[in-house]
Symmetry: D2
């Protein structure tokens, strides 16, 4: 079996998840070096270097980027220049222009770039996508996504997060494209601040309903909230002319308790660290597999770009109280026509 | 459309249910006269007479017997003599010998006798029976019935009820035969008094697990309790070599409420008056339909006899702490050999 | 017990439901006369007259209007003139101007007018409304309603229905106001024709996602379709800062069947005739009770007007591809300022 | 943090599960040496020796025994002699006499012995046990366990398995004691061969209903089958005077798909390797924790002995068609009176 030599940049919460999966669970991955400014020496038996050392390490074939968002584009470009394949956590960057530039570098360097939309690799969501792909639903005309966090991140994080749409809803925008298998044309978002003073202070929103219209007129609606007191709420439903499919949350356990006051059951799992634990493993497996077989990665840079444009359209929609066409976002950001015009064909 | 002229004896709780269904919901039933010692004149537009007047009324073709259990056999015999078809509430009688005698009179008079095992006509149980009949389950080898009342009846009722097995479990014994479509051979019951002082005072039991072995070795297990604080618990599961099917309780509503402490839902419906409302209507429809078309009734006297023998075997099993063969019950009660030996064929 | 003397105009599908409930299930209602151009003589023991005869019948105190929509306003006005209390099926009228005029007549005549938004009286929806009213949810910020019919009505009906929003979604618009207890300020609707050629021929839409923004910024989203192949889909979820509550469909039965291919259960009930059977009874009970006690009716003319304005706003939103303020609808229809400005206070 | 030096004997299916958990997931465990006659050199970085070498290794403080059942007693005795703490997979031994002897050696050596009843460490079952321990259920009077395997083991295995009760139901017998927190007094088992020719050839049974009566008269019923075509079916329900609690299976995913034929969902997880993956990890964590803190192990030798006696009683009950007292099993096997008489107190 071929082994891929891999380096990681960033050993925060998400970096350590990828570390464990690559080291203990994916036999054809070989961790060569990791980088984290907070750490030195070695981490669980893997030597620690600088980001530059990781990127330029002779043996390393692929780099997993888990550093803060504002470093992503720089590291992606450097990896591309060094001819390394890349896995990058979402979001790619908060600037659409920078994303477009970076993607050009990646294209020119002919390296692979996979974006970390891990939910695509969760068993529940994958099942729905399969039902759609198998035409069990017929033509999907209504997609509904409920995506609510158990609580908002700290104020500091909020301030540099790029806003709820870019930071949190972006997963749902990607999911909408993944399930429907079509591109979004128009975005209407209605939003407010209802549950968090920190969010208000950060000038962000914490609650929203976003309607997406796809190029064939079919629709998706996403409802988001930064704070659901009952836990991490991640559900989806897709409806078509042949049927409907939905997924419920994964719960702490399956118990039901009945007493005089009613029946009582468990809550959804707490947050993405326990809810999506398998998806992170599957995601990294698929990345390594794509490298081994020299196949296209399952989530590429264009996927990241599309989700980001939807987020920007949602921001504009809230600001101006009107539906926004994705073509407006492209023009405003001077996204090159030739890059975008055929975007649904390229995929 | 042919109409059947019907009389009712007894306008207690269950008698009034049958009254409403016959009068307002079953177009080919015509209520001619009703009898109840507590009532006089007319009841919702139907003249009230004595039981004798109902039984011997020239126009009346069928009598619905809802009077106290100890009068059932007498009225059945009188109806048979008068040539009237009969619907009788369960249990037929607390004496097996009397039941056997009565059934002979019914047979001789060539009238129809239907026993009130209403649960056979409930949508949930019917669905399971259909799945078994359609061979979706394969050969059913394990049947599980949970049947728990919300609370015990009053002490006075308990004293003359014939005991929990005869009064309450008898529905489950009939259900076991209905679902499995086979006769029971052996009964083992384990029981105790855990939830009610009245039950203790009445010398009865309130909690039991009863294992039935059918003539082909397949099995059923029934768990009963006179008191479930969370409501009327009526569930069933059947398992075979091709699959498994189960039914859950009907609930007050379908709501689920999630807060920080968990998820919370509705309880099962309160008791048979609301849980089995449709089954009573369906049951009476099927009775009237059988009369109209001159077809066999869907639950006959032999069905009542079989369920009763299981109840007696369960009583003996608890008393002697051992499994009891149904053949023992037949012998002890001098049930005539020719009546019983071919019981599963006769059906 | 006081009895209310009642007449019915129109004995179509819905008229006969009200007839049965009033005649057999509501003891303090007394059906005096009914009118239906297709029928003569008597109907189940109640004499049949003309609409005029019902409205002007000396004994009749209240009239239940179940005739075609285009006759509603005329009959309401005549009833008001005759001093009769009124129950009218939804929608009140397809013309907002006519509704406003009619409401003035009703007000002047000081009679009661109840609109037939029966879902408010369904156990599931009522439970959710109670949870909100009891502050279990906290401040409700997101309401989600799924409302899908099993199939579109016939082409002839579609042509005169007033469109999907006015004919079908209007129930959901009323439900949104009922659950949230606030008025709607803005409507954005996205819609298409995906499932029915008849709908296309009638120039209508059959699939929509409608976002409502309430006066305090909280939001509701409704998804509608005229054709769900799996049955009548009627669900709702409300989310707030203290919790979330949802209701599921009522199913044909509670069975679950497991075989090698998966688990299999029952579908939702077929359509409103079986799904909402209890709500119609409860609704009429509440109407009669309000008359007996001389209390306000639980759903009044203003409720009908509000739901209708939302439907008109949704129509305009689809036509112009933009969110529409309810205030625009009022102005366009010259709804008198003094009637509308305090609408949420009046209630 | 203190680290426990551990050896493993046997690297079959279950041995490898313990290996992975001890090596990768339990920080205070240190794997020193493993033994497996099929393997040589090292296993994932841990040197391989003989069983004797593992037991007598100077550094090793505790041995995890995962070798075939007929070697368990021998290895336990050797470990005890060597002063090593022991974790042993179930069943301890097929001979009750040998178990009793071994337990004496363990007692004399004053080492810890933990039995591998892993289900006690599963989140679902643990939740139920907690609800009982917190007195949410009140006095538990009825316990129901459904435990069905997806398919029987191979004929060779069946022949030396000790029979279904000893091999498979023993987990349920332990679970019954764990949940109820009381000792079993009487066992009645009804059984047959319905689903497997291999089982018939091995002279075993494949389907059973077992009623346990506890010392206070409360009851448990277990239904077992070696072959459930829809997967691994592991459910439990406990009922008491204050309420009822149940757990459902863990499923492959949470999807529900609705089409014209019904609703369709996922099946239970396939078998213990995926269903109980977390329980194995938790179990080993608890074992290591008990050693670190020098606390009693959570499942001890007496627990294994009790479950085994229930299995033997069930065997005798089927053979003789009667309920069997556990005291009979003790006498027949000459279990020493002083060991057994206070068994529920000792725990």
């Amino acid at each position: 079996m071929k082994k891929i030599n891999i380096g990681i940049i960033g050993l925060g919460r998400i970096g350590q998840i990828h570390f464990s999966n690559l080291k203990y669970c994916i036999p054809n991955a070989n961790l060569v070096m990791v980088a984290d400014p907070q750490k030195a020496g070695e981490f669980n038996g893997v030597p620690i270097g600088t980001a530059e050392e990781v990127i330029n390490h002779e043996k390393i074939e692929a780099v997993v980027i888990c550093s803060p968002t504002d470093t992503h584009s720089v590291y992606i470009e450097k990896c591309a220049l060094a001819g390394k394949d890349i896995f990058c956590e979402k979001p790619h960057d908060l600037s659409l222009e920078r994303v477009v530039c970076t993607l050009e570098s990646v294209k020119k360097a002919e390296v692979k770039l996979m974006l970390g939309f891990n939910r695509r690799f969760d068993g529940n969501f994958k099942k729905i996508q399969q039902l759609v792909a198998q035409n069990k639903i017929g033509d999907p005309t209504i997609l509904k996504i409920t995506s609510r966090d158990p609580g908002p991140p700290p104020l500091e994080y909020l301030k540099s997060s790029g806003g709820m749409f870019m930071d949190m809803s972006i997963h749902d925008f990607d999911m909408a494209r993944f399930i429907m298998g079509k591109e979004v044309e128009k975005v209407y978002a209605s939003a407010g601040v209802f549950s968090s003073n920190d969010v208000k202070e950060a000038g962000d929103i914490d609650t929203a309903i976003i309607t997406l219209t796809f190029i064939d007129g079919s629709m998706a609606v996403i409802d988001n909230c930064r704070k659901a007191v009952y836990g991490y709420d991640q559900r989806l439903e897709v409806f078509g002319n042949k049927g409907m499919a939905q997924i419920d949350n994964n719960k702490h356990d399956t118990h039901l308790f009945f007493d005089q006051s009613g029946s009582h059951g468990a809550l959804p799992l707490d947050f993405f660290m326990d809810r999506y634990v398998d998806s992170y493993k599957n995601e990294m497996e698929r990345f390594v597999e794509a490298l081994c077989k020299d196949e296209p990665v399952p989530v590429n840079g264009q996927d990241g770009l599309e989700a980001m444009m939807i987020a920007l359209a949602a921001n504009l929609s809230v600001a101006e109280g009107r539906p926004v066409m994705l073509s407006e976002i492209m023009k405003m950001n001077r996204v090159k026509q030739e890059e975008m015009v055929n975007r649904s064909i390229e995929k």
